[in-house]
Amino acid sequence: MNIVLGVIELGGALLFGFGVMRRVFETTSSSITVKALGALLSLLIGISAISVLFIAFWFAGFSVLNASWFASLVLIVLGISLFAASGSKYLFPEAKCSFVATSWIKLLWVSVIGVTVIIAIILGVNTPDGGWDSWMIWNLRARLIFGVSAVVDAFPAQIVGTHPDYPLMLPGINSVIWSVLGAPSTISPLIVSILLGILCVGILVGSLAGICGWPKAMIAGIMLLCTPKFAFIMTSQEADLMVSVFYLSATIFTFLALEAPETNQKILFVMSGAILAAAVWTKNDGILFAMAMPISVFIVNKMPIKRRFLIAKWYFLGALPILILVIYFKLKIAPQNDLFMEPLSIKISRSMDLQRLGMVLLILLRRMCYFQMWGLFLIAAPFLWLYFGGKKSERSAAYPIWFSLKIALVGIVAVYMLTPHDLSWHITHSADRLFFQYWPTFLFLIFLSVPYQCDNAVANRYDRNFSLLRQK
C-alpha cells in the first residue's frame, strides 16, 4: 500500500474541490448547513476531477501509477491557485425561516438512516461484488485499466456484452484508489458507492435545508432513503447513483444561477455545465440531461436573447474540458455504441412506428407501477408534478428545470423507440435505473415548489394540525 500516494491523492482531490467551492459560494459565518453542503459538493468535485485527470494522463500514455501521481499533483497546484485567487462570490440564498422539525420527525429521520445502514450492510456482505452491471461493466473495466499495459487492451471487443464504449468516470475513481492499494479490491468500489449514496442524500438535504429550511429537507431526505431499492442501488456499485448525484448538483447550480444577480451567474452556470459534462463522462445516458438542461434554460426564460446565448456559452465553457476527453474517447478508443450500429433507414422506420410508441409507453407505465422497485412513489409522482411542478410558483427559477425533465422524458422515450434490442427486455432492464437517475432531482424540485411561507401564524397552525413544525 502506497500511503504517500494515498495522502497526495486525497489532498489533491480535497484541495481542488474545496478550492472550486470557495470560488463559488460565500457563506455567512453562522451557516453550518451551507458550509456542509459546500463540503459535500467539494468532495464530489474532488473525486470527479481526480478521475478525469487520471484517465486523461492514462490516455496520454502514462502508467496507472504515474497517471495517479500526476493527476494528484496537478490538482494540488490547481487547488492552491484557486485558494490564492480572489473574485466575486455568490451569497447563498439561505432560508430566512427559523422553524425546526419536531422531535418525532427527527426520530423518523434517525430510524430511516439506521434501517438503510442495516440493509446496506446486509446487501454489502451478501453481494460484495455489487450488482450485475457493476462487475460486468464498471469494475471489469477498472480491472482492465489497472492491469493492461496498452490503453487499447482495456477495451477488448472479444468480450461480448461488457459495453467497452461506456465512459470511464467510475472505473477511473476505482483505478485511482487501487493505485494506492497496489491491487484491485472489492471493498473500495463498495465504499465509493456508499459514499456516493451519502453524497446523494446529503446534497439533497443540504440544498433544501439551505434554500427552504430543515423540515422540508428532512422529509425530502426521508423520501429518498425510503425509496425502495435505494439501499440496493447504493450497494450495487452501478453508475446510475453517480449520474443522479451529478444531475442533482447541476440542477442546484442552475437553480441558484437563475435566482442569482447577473454579476454572480457566470460561475454558477459554468459549474453546472462542468457537472453535466461529468454526468456524460459517467454514463452515456448523461448526454440526454446535459442537452436538456441548457436547452430548456435557453427556451424557458424571459431574459433578452443576447443574455440567453451568453448563458449557453457559460454552460459550454464549463463542460468543455470534460467534453474534450469524452469526444477523444468516443472517436479514438471506444467501439461504436450498439444504438448507432444499424443503418439510418431502420432507425427512421422505427421512430415512425406508432404501435411501437404505444408499446414503449405501456411498458414504461408498467415499470412506474412496479411495486418492487418504486413502491407507490412513481404512481404519486405525476400527481405531485401536476400539482406543484407545472406552476410558475414563487420559486420561478425552478420552472426551466421542470421543463428540462420534460425534455429528458421525451428523450428517454425516443431512445427506446430507436433501440435495436428487444423492447420489453431493454426497458425492463434499464427503465428503473433511468428513472432513479432523475429521482433526487425530481424530489428537489417538488420540495422547492411546495408553497412556503415564513409566517408565525402559519407555523402555529402547522403545529396544531400536524405537529410537524415548531418555532425555535
Binding site: T127, W135, R143, I159, T186, P228, K229, W374, Q453, A457
Partner: protein, 144 residues
C-alpha cells in the same frame, strides 16, 4: 392570511402523504431484504465473492498469458446468456476470456452439470491442471 392558512393546509397534507409513501417504501425494503431474501436461500448465504470461485485457478495461469479459452455447454456466447463466462472475465482480468479456439493455451471449463474431464482431455488434447468441482476446472493444451 387566509391564503397562507390554505397553503399551510395543503403543505400539511403533502407532508402527510410523503411520510405515508416513505413508510410504505421502507416496509417494502425491510420485507424484501430481511425476510424474502433469507427465505429464498433457506437462511444460507446468498452469494460469495466472485473472485473466491476463481481463486485457485487464477494462480495457475502464468502472468504472460493474456487470453484464456472458455468451454461450457453454450455453443455461442451471447450477451447475458452465460453469467459465468462474464464472471470469469471479471475474475481473471486483465486477461480476457474468450470461447475456446486453436490459440487457447489455457482453457477454463465451466459446465452446469458434472462432466468427464477424461473425455475432454482426449477430445481437445488438453491436460487437467486443477478442478475444484466436477463441472469446473482449468486445463492446459498438451504440446505435440
Amino acid at each position: 392570511m387566509k391564503k397562507n392558512l390554505n397553503n399551510s393546509k395543503r403543505v400539511c397534507w403533502f407532508y402527510r402523504a410523503c411520510v405515508v409513501l416513505s413508510l410504505i417504501g421502507l416496509s417494502r425494503t425491510i420485507y424484501i431484504h430481511v425476510f424474502v431474501d433469507r427465505k429464498q436461500t433457506d437462511g444460507q448465504k446468498i452469494s460469495t465473492s466472485i473472485d473466491l470461485r476463481y481463486e485457485s485457478i487464477k494462480k495457475l495461469i502464468p502472468p504472460e498469458i493474456k487470453e484464456v479459452g472458455y468451454l461450457s455447454e453454450q455453443e455461442e456466447i451471447l450477451p447475458f446468456n452465460d453469467k459465468y463466462y462474464l464472471q470469469a472475465n471479471y475474475a481473471l482480468a486483465p486477461r480476457i476470456v474468450v470461447p475456446m479456439n486453436d490459440r487457447s493455451l489455457y482453457v477454463l471449463v465451466d459446465f452446469e452439470q458434472p462432466i468427464s474431464f477424461e473425455d475432454l482431455q482426449s477430445k481437445y488434447n488438453l491436460s487437467l491442471l486443477s478442478s475444484t468441482r466436477p463441472n469446473f476446472g482449468l486445463l492446459r493444451k498438451v504440446s505435440k
